[in-house]
């Protein structure tokens, strides 16, 4: 049933009318009332203009992700996270009796029995102390026939040792308040030992660059974490070389994408530009080609790299992409880049004219 319409309830109806939320009878009632009442007709007209203004707004989604690169990136990250979740061991009954869960279970009782609580804490402390002492003795004293050494300042690893490392041997843990993760590496043979450190340590950097360069030996997650860990060190020549190699040869496009992102902070070295150009020219994944193109343009425009200029090879690759790339975005953006290059050349020529 259509509610009777008065001037007092017309305004809300006008809002629903403008939003298209009224059924036909209700719309007819609004229109009929507006024809009879000039004040309500003005209200209705105002609502309709407001609705038009709202519809005319350029939505942030159209500005922030018009090319849907963000969507592609979100998908890629989500599927990586799902891969990671799938690789984690499933919860078993053992998970139910972890110390934290036990503490949680007894907490309620402890609150109401402070005496018991104090006694229990003492007991837990004594047990922990005994256990820690025993554990320390085990790791501090080498057992004959099975020596285990913990070294905080790692000794150089041999090539043979590097080849024994696999995904289960390496652990990267983020550290609060630092961009450097803590890296722990277990070397099993020929001489078992544990290496700990951060990417600031040359030996740890060497291990991480080895991981990045050996796609077949480590899974995608470890390689991605290693790239992230090394990103702040991207201006190191060894790291730069490994990232460039990953960009050229890693089998997973997500790793190659991450390598491009890391190389964005790698300064203006020619080898970086060469790797980015190769990715733009040869990578079979359009997402990687797009990132390579974006990185190239960023380098070209950035004030940080005033020495970066595009040589004939780069120009010819851009031309080739503009004509032949299967992706419309790459074709358009390559054309745009060539246009910018031409205008930069003109600027430099006219600049030279002004300041001989």
């Amino acid at each position: 049933m259509v509610e009777e319409l008065h001037c007092s309830n017309f305004e809300d109806r006008a809002i629903l009318y403008a939003a298209g939320d009224l059924i036909e009878d209700e719309r007819a009632a609004v229109e009929a009332h507006a024809r009879r009442c000039a004040t309500c007709a003005a209200v209705l007209s105002h609502e309709i203009s407001l609705r038009r203004a709202i519809a005319a707004r350029v939505q942030p989604a159209d500005t922030l992700d018009r090319s849907e690169l963000l969507l592609a990136r979100c998908r890629s990250e989500l599927f990586e996270a799902l891969d990671y979740a799938a690789a984690q061991p499933k919860r078993t009954w053992r998970a139910l009796v972890t110390p934290w869960r036990l503490v949680g279970a007894f907490r309620h009782t402890f609150v109401f029995h402070p005496g018991w609580s104090a006694a229990a804490l003492l007991l837990v402390g004594a047990l922990a102390g005994t256990a820690a002492r025993e554990w320390y003795r085990q790791i501090a004293l080498p057992v004959p026939g099975n020596p285990v050494i913990t070294v905080l300042a790692p000794a150089p690893l041999t090539e043979q040792e590097l080849e024994t490392i696999d995904r289960d041997s390496i652990r990267l843990e983020p550290q609060s308040g630092s961009t450097n993760p803590k890296v722990e590496l277990q070397v099993r043979s020929p001489r078992p030992r544990v290496l700990q450190g951060t990417p600031d340590d040359a030996e740890i950097r060497r291990v991480l660059t080895y991981v990045i360069g050996h796609g077949g030996q480590f899974d995608d997650g470890v390689r991605l974490d290693s790239i992230d860990a090394l990103r702040p060190k991207a201006d190191d020549p060894q790291v730069r070389e490994a990232m460039s190699e990953a960009l050229r040869h890693d089998p997973n496009p997500a790793v190659r994408l991450r390598a491009i992102e890391a190389l964005r902070g790698a300064g203006s070295a020619p080898d970086v530009q060469s790797a980015i150009l190769e990715a733009l020219s040869d990578d079979d994944n359009s997402g990687v080609r797009i990132q390579a193109l974006n990185a190239l343009l960023e380098r070209m425009r950035s004030h940080k790299f005033p020495s970066v200029s595009l040589d004939n090879r780069a120009v010819s690759i851009l031309r080739d992409r503009m004509r032949n790339d299967s992706n419309r975005y790459i074709r358009s953006r390559s054309a745009d880049a060539l246009g910018q290059l031409a205008s930069m050349d003109e600027d430099s020529v006219s600049g030279e004219g002004r300041h001989p």
């Binding site: 203009s49 203004a53 939505q59 942030p60 849907e68 963000l70 969507l71 592609a72 745009d336």
Partner: protein, 225 residues
């Protein structure tokens, strides 16, 4: 090198969004298709889940971008929402439409973000600026492209940008819930009942939120009259 894992941008650029977008599931997707995919995903079929993601994630990201106005925040919302959906998919019992269930999760996360932002205004991203014709030199490539419709007329374009800027500023003044209702009604094209289902409230409450939001906007946009 292996084939595509990371999705590439579509060949056709999405149109500039002055039109309200229909809710997911309303176009070529049928509820029956969804049901099959959901059942397969609930049985542990990862590829079925990925297909479901690809059906709905564009709208989810759009909603988050429009409401939060920040690519980083929208990325967080996207991740959090779909991981939550993945972990809780076994609890979905087909008692409502799948997109309603998804929107319930997404809107809750967006509302949390908006509320957090209100309580920490210093973390709020700058108001999204639309690009005027005088600023185009430094703008992104896509801002250089020729548009059809109102964007091909420079005068209307400038006017549209100005209106857009004022609407954007007015939207910032709404409460998180009003903002969400407004976005879902006007830019996602959802019906009041569907919005109510997504927000876990009645159609009447949604209507009242919409009225309040419209009143506030009208006051702030008085100059556009």
């Amino acid at each position: 090198m292996s084939d595509v894992i990371v999705g590439s941008p579509p060949e056709a650029l999405p149109s500039s969004g002055t039109t309200a977008v229909a809710p997911p599931g309303s176009s070529v997707l049928s509820a029956a298709d969804d049901r099959i995919l959901i059942e397969r995903a609930q049985a542990g079929d990862r590829s079925a889940f990925e297909l479901l993601v690809q059906r709905y994630d564009r709208q989810v990201l759009r909603l988050a971008l429009n409401v939060l106005g920040s690519a980083e925040d929208a990325r967080d919302v996207y991740q959090e929402a779909f991981l939550k959906i993945y972990r809780n998919l076994h609890r979905f019992r087909f008692e409502c439409a799948f997109y309603t269930w998804i929107y319930r999760i997404v809107t809750n996360i967006c509302l949390d973000h908006l509320r957090r932002r209100r309580s920490h205004p210093e973390e709020q991203p700058p108001l999204l600026r639309t690009v005027s014709s005088g600023e185009r030199r430094d703008a992104d490539f896509f801002d250089h492209q020729q548009e059809t419709g109102m964007y091909s007329d420079p005068e209307r374009q400038v006017l549209g940008h100005e209106i857009g800027r004022q609407v954007e500023a007015a939207l910032q003044a709404l409460s998180p819930r009003e903002r969400m209702v407004f976005e879902m009604r006007h830019y996602q094209g959802m019906k009041l009942r569907a919005i109510g289902e997504a927000l876990g409230t009645t159609e009447e409450t949604v209507k009242n939120s919409l009225f309040r939001a419209t009143h506030k906007l009208r006051t702030r946009l008085e100059g556009l009259r």
